[in-house]
């Protein structure tokens, strides 16, 4: 059987194939296996979790092909919203989900088909990491994690059994610093606008995330008291932008970055000594032998979470394959892989089986490494005796001050952001 490349052709072929199978009284397992082999699922998302190693492992464990495309957050949103036929699986962040769900391009998932659903961390189910936790501001994942039914268009506020995204990966973000070039302790978000770092600071040029970093700074400076950082009023947006525009005109920023690699280069080359950064970017700088710290700050972290959503056009055998993929995703191998890069898995306990005791202790429990810690690709990240910046899972995820968000005034914010970049 030839493998057609065009989605429609493939689908219609598979549909007829599936119907033929259902019609026969005793479908032969051989036939089924052959068809699985021909399934191609097209996944796209941000670079963080679109890893070729995952696609290879899927081929090995599940038999079908996963095609990966990595894009930046804006492009991901754009594609999920405007080109529903260009993907089968969308690997997106929760705030993107809030934006994209109303387009109807994604379908809700039946949690009863998810084997490890009960083991998923509370953050993604009722919003609480531990029963005592307070829910942070912003687009907390559980607020956009459920809908009322398979065709639901509005988000539900409890666990309905129909999930929008199956959580896969998340982390708590903070500022990255070059301790060797700063030479003193950094404790607060306010340092980003400290004139001491004039021309040596950077912030990311992705509006939905950048505005949150800005808000953390403005709030820490005591300049603005936000009602909800994740859902600002126009006035709050104006004030925030005014503070940062002034800093920009005064030459506070060396550059703005949009992609992961840019942030790594800015930091590694010493162009920038303090900036918004993502955890694996810190890892990448460190693996070049350059000191770099993911500095925990007293005001807390800005957190984000991603998950996989299914295209509404998935059906039949491909939908089954997608569920199989999701179950596999949560079964531990990927989780272990991601956690060894510094992210967290939605089902940490299954990931534990795929990590050594030393790795689990270092990455999850915040303990001293007992041996060298290496990344999944083999780079040395830490020596024995070192601990993770920020400590254990509960220390870090417990200190989240806000989640990446899209606000009601998003369009206004976007225009203001555009002005800020052009200012």
């Amino acid at each position: 059987m030839a493998k057609p490349k065009v989605g429609y052709t493939r689908r219609s072929l598979l549909k007829t194939g599936g119907a033929a199978l259902a019609a026969s009284a005793l479908p032969s397992p051989m036939l089924w296996a052959q068809d699985t082999k021909d399934i191609v699922l097209r996944q796209f998302g941000t670079g963080v979790s679109n890893l070729n190693d995952v696609a290879n492992k899927v081929k090995e464990d599940l038999g079908f092909t996963l095609e990966m495309t990595a894009l930046d957050s804006d492009s991901v949103t754009q594609r999920a919203a405007t080109q529903p036929d260009s993907f089968d699986i969308a690997d997106i962040e929760y705030w993107i989900c809030k934006k994209v769900w109303p387009t109807g391009n994604l379908q809700a998932m039946d949690t009863s088909k998810i084997a490890n659903y009960d083991k998923i961390v509370g953050i993604f189910r009722n919003g609480k990491l531990t029963p005592e936790s307070e829910i942070a501001q912003g687009t907390a994942p559980h607020t956009v994690g459920f809908v009322d039914g398979p065709g639901g268009t509005s988000f539900a506020d409890n666990e309905t059994g129909w999930m929008t995204l199956i959580p896969t990966i998340y982390n708590a973000d903070t500022l990255g610093i070059r301790p060797d070039l700063i030479g003193r302790p950094i404790e607060s978000w306010t340092e980003l606008l400290n004139p001491e770092f004039k021309g040596k600071a950077s912030i990311l040029d992705i509006s939905s995330i950048g505005i949150m970093d800005m808000a953390m700074v403005c709030e820490a400076m005591g300049e603005i008291q936000y009602g909800d950082k994740g859902n600002m009023t126009r006035e709050e947006i104006d004030k925030t932008m005014a503070i940062f525009t002034e800093a920009k005109r005064n030459g506070q920023f060396r550059a703005f970055w949009k992609t992961f690699d840019e942030s790594v280069n800015l930091m590694a080359s010493g162009e920038v000594v303090i900036q918004s950064m993502w955890s694996p970017a810190i890892t990448a700088v460190k693996s070049r032998g350059i000191p770099c710290v993911y500095q925990p700050l007293k005001e807390g972290y800005r957190s984000w979470g991603g998950g996989i959503g299914l295209s509404s056009s998935l059906s039949g055998m491909e939908l089954d394959a997608a569920y199989e993929y999701i179950n596999w995703y949560l079964s531990g191998w990927v989780g272990g892989y991601l956690m060894r890069q510094g992210y967290y898995s939605a089902v940490p306990e299954t990931s534990k089986n795929f990590m050594s005791e030393n790795e689990w202790g270092y990455w999850f429990e915040g303990k001293e490494a007992t041996d060298v810690i290496t990344s999944p690709t083999g780079d040395t990240l830490a020596q024995a005796g070192e601990t993770r910046d920020g400590g254990s899972f509960y220390d870090r995820m417990g200190a989240v001050a806000c989640w990446n968000a899209v606000m009601d005034e998003n369009q206004y914010m976007v225009r203001k952001w555009n002005e800020f970049i052009a200012a």
Binding site: Q78, K99, T103, S202, A255, G270, Q411, N418, E419
Partner: protein, 285 residues
């Protein structure tokens, strides 16, 4: 009958180009103009006839500043590429005597174009950086004590990259017109007692004007339409109109991007119209 046939044949001959232009030039522009009046929600655009996009565009001081910056980049880049391009073309056309040598040297000029635009641009970044080669060299020579901050992520680096990228677009048309200047005119000038400088000003420059104009149009339109060079070389710190448009597109604000594009298109057309007042290119082609 004969005449009528010729008429039809003429139309048929013009048809392929007309169809291509209609389908790939006129139609997209018309579409952009239409969309510029539409409205946008966060994730979709809807047909409407409203002036919101233009209102926001003309109502924001940032727009004027950005258009100013775009014209500034275009003007400075034009002046520099013209000076360099004219000199290079002059050297190639009048100082190098053998045709083989001229062709060889001309090909040398094109060597940088064997790599991609983006690579040529990005390779400046490690060179100009705070700890880059330029700063390290200057410090080791004792010219400066502190690294120069303005070398990278500044107007300087943006214009440097523009000049580097686009000078050849000036060299080629100027060289081309210079090669077609009748050498006997230069001899006549010399025979009549003109100095080298007088020959340049009164003979060569006037005869090279069409080439200069074509090069100017290339450079001005390229610089005014660019967004990626400004983004990379300024580390997103500076903006031109292209970046406004690309930001809008990235944020799914297509109608607003379309409105900006329409205004930019008009600006560029006005600039070219003004340029064409000076020289009649068609006469010279």
């Amino acid at each position: 009958m004969q005449v009528k046939n010729r008429h039809i044949v003429g139309w048929l001959e013009a048809a392929p180009l007309a169809v291509v232009l209609l389908g790939f030039l006129i139609a997209p522009i018309v579409m952009i103009v239409i969309v510029s009046f539409w409205g946008a929600t966060e994730f979709s655009i809807y047909p409407a006839f409203q002036f919101d996009n233009y209102e926001f565009l003309f109502g924001s001081p940032v727009t004027y500043r950005v258009f100013g910056a775009t014209l500034k980049y275009a003007f400075i880049t034009w002046a520099l590429t013209l000076a360099i391009g004219f000199t290079v073309a002059y050297f190639l056309a009048f100082h190098v005597r053998s045709l083989t040598m001229q062709i060889a040297l001309f090909l040398v000029c094109t060597i940088p174009f064997w790599t991609s635009n983006i690579i040529r641009m990005i390779s400046w970044i490690p060179f100009l950086g705070r700890n880059g080669i330029a700063n390290q060299t200057l410090i080791s020579w004792g010219v400066i004590d502190e690294p120069l901050e303005w070398l990278l992520y500044s107007d300087f680096s943006v214009i440097l990259a523009f000049v580097h990228l686009y000078t050849l677009f000036m060299v080629v048309p100027i060289f081309n017109t210079m090669m077609r200047i009748d050498k006997s005119l230069l001899e006549a000038a010399r025979d009549n007692g003109a100095s080298g400088f007088q020959t340049l000003v009164h003979v060569i420059i006037p005869l090279t004007k069409p080439g200069i104009m074509i090069g100017t149009i290339f450079v001005v339109t390229l610089v005014m339409g660019d967004f990626i060079t400004v983004r990379f070389m300024s580390g997103s710190q500076r903006a031109n109109v292209g970046r406004l448009i690309s930001n809008d597109i990235g944020l799914l604000q297509y109608p607003s991007a379309a409105a900006t594009a329409v205004v930019l298109l008009c600006t560029v057309l006005i600039v070219i119209a003004i340029l064409l007042r000076f020289v009649n290119i068609r006469k010279e082609l």
